[in-house]
Symmetry: C3
Subunit: 112 residues, 3 copies
């Protein structure tokens, strides 16, 4: 199994979830995070004053998937999250050993 | 070391933490997340209007544990988080390489 | 690639980020979490009543980094997060397989 973590623009969340459902993926977790990246140096104006935005509100989407679905989900995320402008976000992939459905105690790929 | 992640019903949080303490585990992280799963299609009523619940408030519990404690903790989580109804949540297990106590710089199993 | 997760005191966040930038690391995620550890038993007073603090507000910092930068980042975190008092927090290290920049589709170390 793999875990796919995508850091995305908050305004893209709904479109991304719809795109994932369209390819058959509905199980995911959403966390509100603050991002801090190379994008941080952006200078904005507010009430006439310039200030540097240090922390950007982002959403973290986490999907645990079957080995063979990884690439399809990554491509779906890239296509639905991209605007082409600086700040579209990043995707990280890591290994997951097992998944368990609490209600039944069931384990493995069928839980996903 | 292993990381155990449990996505649970918010109302079960206290009982789960008590159950973990009873088997000797007190170190954990709690994050408020929004879940989106096969449970999402639930139709509820509010002020006379029917609407589809898309995002469900869940809690994510993360526990980093010694290899040999993994199964005991998983069983404790299953038993204390289960109601038997749809929506009891899931558990995911992955590998952790090292743990460090910031105060002392100490590393390894004794940090957990 | 490695993922470094640090559970820290909220009041240390700014100093830690500055320390990371000073060694060349600006990409990270920040999540508000509630911690529950051996520190939980602290007894505090509020309006004359004693009560046990069960959940402590903490910040979780996550950094995905190149293999060779892991130790430098861990040392920077330890030095900037430490007060020497109980409750300085913990660091966990795990493996990451790949990273992708959504805007370009680019993969691997250069994304970090
Ligand atoms: N190395 C990293 N580790 C953890 N999180 C990161 C890392 N790099 C970036 N992030 C997260 O991803 C978000 C976006 O990162 P950043 O602005 O640096 O690049 P990008 O927006 O993905 O790329 P670009 O702006 O070039 O299209 C950041 O706000 C941060 O939360
Ligand atoms: N594949 C997945 N990846 C990440 N998070 C998931 C995944 N599947 C489920 N989740 C998370 O777990 C929560 C519960 O999932 P879901 O409703 O699909 O099944 P369940 O409630 O665990 O099982 P059941 O309802 O059959 O007892 C979801 O709200 C979601 O946050
Ligand atoms: N085994 C663990 N798994 C997940 N999170 C943990 C674990 N142990 C500790 N934590 C998190 O780290 C935070 C700090 O932990 P704890 O108070 O036990 O030790 P510490 O403060 O790191 O060490 P000390 O107080 O001895 O300096 C906790 O609030 C909790 O969120
Ligand atoms: Mg950027
Ligand atoms: Mg369900
Ligand atoms: Mg402590």
């Amino acid at each position: 199994m793999k875990k796919i973590v995508a850091i995305i623009r908050p305004e893209k969340l709904k479109a991304i979830i719809k795109a994932l459902e369209d390819v058959g993926y509905s199980g995911l977790m959403i966390t509100e995070i603050e991002g801090h990246g190379k994008q941080r140096g952006i200078v904005q104006q507010w009430r006439g004053e310039k200030y540097k935005v240090e922390f950007l509100p982002k959403r973290k989407i986490e999907i645990i998937c079957k080995e063979d679905d990884t690439e399809k989900i990554v491509q779906t995320l890239i296509q639905s999250a991209r605007t082409g402008e600086i700040g579209d976000g990043k995707i990280f992939i890591s290994e997951v050993i097992d998944a368990i459905r609490i209600r039944t105690g069931e384990r493995g790929d069928s839980v996903l």
